[in-house]
Amino acid sequence: MRTLYYIVTSALVRGLIGQGITAFVVYQGMVSLRNALGYDTTQGVYDEPSGVMAALISVIGFLLAAGVFTDWLKWIGGEDPPLKHGAQGRPEWTRYINVDVNHKVIGIQYGIASMVILLLGGLLAIIFRLELAMPGLQFLDGDAYNTLFSAHGIIMIVSIFSGIAAMINYLGPVMIGASDMSFPRLNAFSYWVSIPAATVLLSALVVGGWDTGWVAYPTHSTTTTMLGVQMFLLGFYINGFSSIASGLNMVVTTVYMRAKGMSYFRMPIFVWAAVSASILQATITQTVGLALTMVVAQRALGLEFFTPVTDPALIELGFPGGDPTLYQHLFWFYSHPAVYVWILPGLGVISELLPVFTRKPLFGYKWIALSSVGIALVGSIVWAHHMFTSGMPVTWKIPFMISTLFVAIPTGVKFFSWVATIWEGKMRFDTPMLFVLGAISVFLLGGLSGPILGTIATDMHLHDSYFVVGHFHATIFGGFVFPFFAAIYYWWPKATGKMYSEALGKLHFWIMVPGFWVMSLTQMRTGVLGMRRRIADYGPDLGIADEQALITVATLAIGWSILIMLYNLIVSLRSQEEAVPNPWGSRSPEFMSPSPLPEFNFDGPIQVIGEPYDYGLDDSTYVVPASAAGD
């Protein structure tokens, strides 16, 4: 009974109710207003401009009802409310469904959200993979298939953003020896705004679905009659607020909250990756926001950004028309670097964990640190390689091809460092290490298939084929999914104080990694043989039916292995056995403190007195409590 009360009065439930009521009231109000003004509001499953307005305002409804704005509203009134720490007299578990400013709570909130969304996105993938296992349409029609693959794309993207935010939030502050982020309330806002964003996004599935893929290129997205597209665009857009705010927060935190003695080149290497990703997130997200706004505005207000001018009289006068390639530029200016936002924290995890499990110093610390920045910078000037077949002048294509191939340099730096770190190390094959090695192998597959697509001549043939699907999944599994799982296993005892089962962890690994290799390589093969992406069906004479069935089997294997992981983790929470504070023999600051970490991470300030990755060297210390440093 108490439990039910705590759930019903939690910020999550209050927010959802607030969002629902706001959406309903605003929608009805807008429809009445538009009826009164003489517009026809009966076309489609809902009235589009009213729906857009309702979705936008409903986010504010959620945040007000959940109490995210409370402290800021008090500030407007001239008060200076202190930060609220702890569970406010409720049970500890309620912190995870209420607005909490602690970076570890927010990190775990993101982590849970990420896994829930991952399961949903994976489920959608499995549904359309079953459809694709055989030639011919079995149980989905075209619209359902289009909605499913479009939703799979964007839902997985939201899951990935939550996943990297989980890692950055949980680990970032404690790794630099801080008690929290620079702006704890903004941090809570970043998390909580992503919930109504997800609701708006998922509502797209209910109000008619959409068929534009996650890229939503005009002129299809501006003319499609599947009205779910508006909710998809808005959900995507609102999620951007979360990205920008959390990116900004991490940048400032890293600049100003590092422990004494922790110069930039003595930070844990994950922080370099996190901050590179954060700088990207805080800036480039704006351009996709604009691109999405433009599509929404063209659909709802009639601003013609993407419609070429056709009236001869206007052409005669010299009037300019819209241009669909404008959208592609704005979209990819964000969405290409965005994949680096997703993989940089993962690559940071690989570099972070390798020295621990090989008991050797990280090879070339400075090069690895700067290669993260390098990837972020070079990755920002390659976007138009997505548009080689969009009718771009050749004088634009060549520079973008060259810059694309340059990405291989900072990425190669990372690979060489990893190999050199492993070289002659005393390796321990615990589950996190296995996932790190799996990540390296899969990321290599993704990396090697990249230049083939970045080269204009080969891209002309492979563009929009399953080869791209295989390449993309390999980079994201290698750069995000496997390192994320490695991070979950590695920091699980730190975050919960409990140890998972090594046997189940290894089982997860030995199903998932081979499963993924089969899936990705077979996708690439079907692509070369002529399978297009985003197509619900293929002919039996294409000769890829066996491959398609194999991909489906591999997908199912991956799905089951993830369920094994979740089972393993959840069961471990109930075990009586407490994890030791530092099960891996790490030198990182978070392992100085007990597990789970205390509210403010450390008993007092800490101080850096040595190099971070001098594993296996005698008499070297990285961090000590500042009180013990003497100085």
């Binding site: 702890g86 709570v105 600049v255 800036t283 950004f305 009037f319 300019p320 530029h329």
Partner: protein, 209 residues
């Protein structure tokens, strides 16, 4: 289960001091401005991408020059008074602070109504319609996105003015005023680029309706 150790001593041993927090706030606001710059640069990029034709190269719609020039001046003047308000509070000159803040907000409102009533033609009938191809789309997108920031800025100024009246800011500690000033000048900064891009640069194309 709890992933944060149960800890009843809710005192942060590493709480940032006020001056440390102000430094972080300042950088945070600048990173926000940098972030917004990507939005406004993308809008400028859109303007130069779309407002072209094969004959004249870069073009612009032939809009009335004098009102736009006057409103630009008004926004500039508001920025001037914002600066005056910030300097005043740092010297504890309350009277100048109060009237300068109000003047800033008032001039901001004049600019806003100038854009909405005159430039968008809600009062006089528009020179450029929403549906006028790329001219209408880009013009309304750029002025509209900027106007949205003007509205937020005016709200912020009024809040800070009100809190300032209550005596919440001192000559030493007036971060809220500084933040408000940085944001308002940033809005002005954006218009410094938008004004020539919309009204001055390129060959004027005559509008017929």
């Amino acid at each position: 289960m709890s992933a944060v150790a149960h800890d009843h001593d809710h005192h942060n041993p590493m709480e940032p001091t006020r001056s440390e927090q102000v430094k972080m706030n300042r950088l945070g606001l600048w990173v926000f401005c940098l972030s917004e710059s990507f939005l406004f640069f993308a809008l400028l990029g859109t303007r130069f991408y779309l407002w072209r034709n094969p004959v004249d190269g870069i073009i612009r719609p032939d809009l009335a020059q004098i009102p736009a020039f006057i409103f630009t001046g008004v926004l500039l003047a508001s920025s001037y008074f914002m600066n005056r308000a910030e300097v005043a509070i740092s010297k504890d000159d309350r009277t100048t602070f109060n009237y300068s803040m109000l003047l800033t907000a008032a001039l901001g409102l004049v600019f806003l109504f100038g854009v909405v009533l005159v430039e968008w033609g809600l009062a006089t009938g528009p020179e450029l319609l929403l549906g006028d191809g790329a001219f209408g789309a880009v013009f309304y997108a750029m002025t509209g996105m900027h106007a949205l920031h003007v509205i937020m800025g005016i709200a912020l100024i009024l809040i800070v003015w009100n809190n300032g009246r209550k005596g919440l800011y001192t000559a030493e500690d007036h971060w809220a005023v500084e933040a408000c000033a940085i944001f308002w000048h940033y809005v002005d900064l954006v218009w410094v680029f938008f004004y020539p891009a919309l009204y001055l640069i390129g060959t004027a194309i005559e509008l017929h309706h």
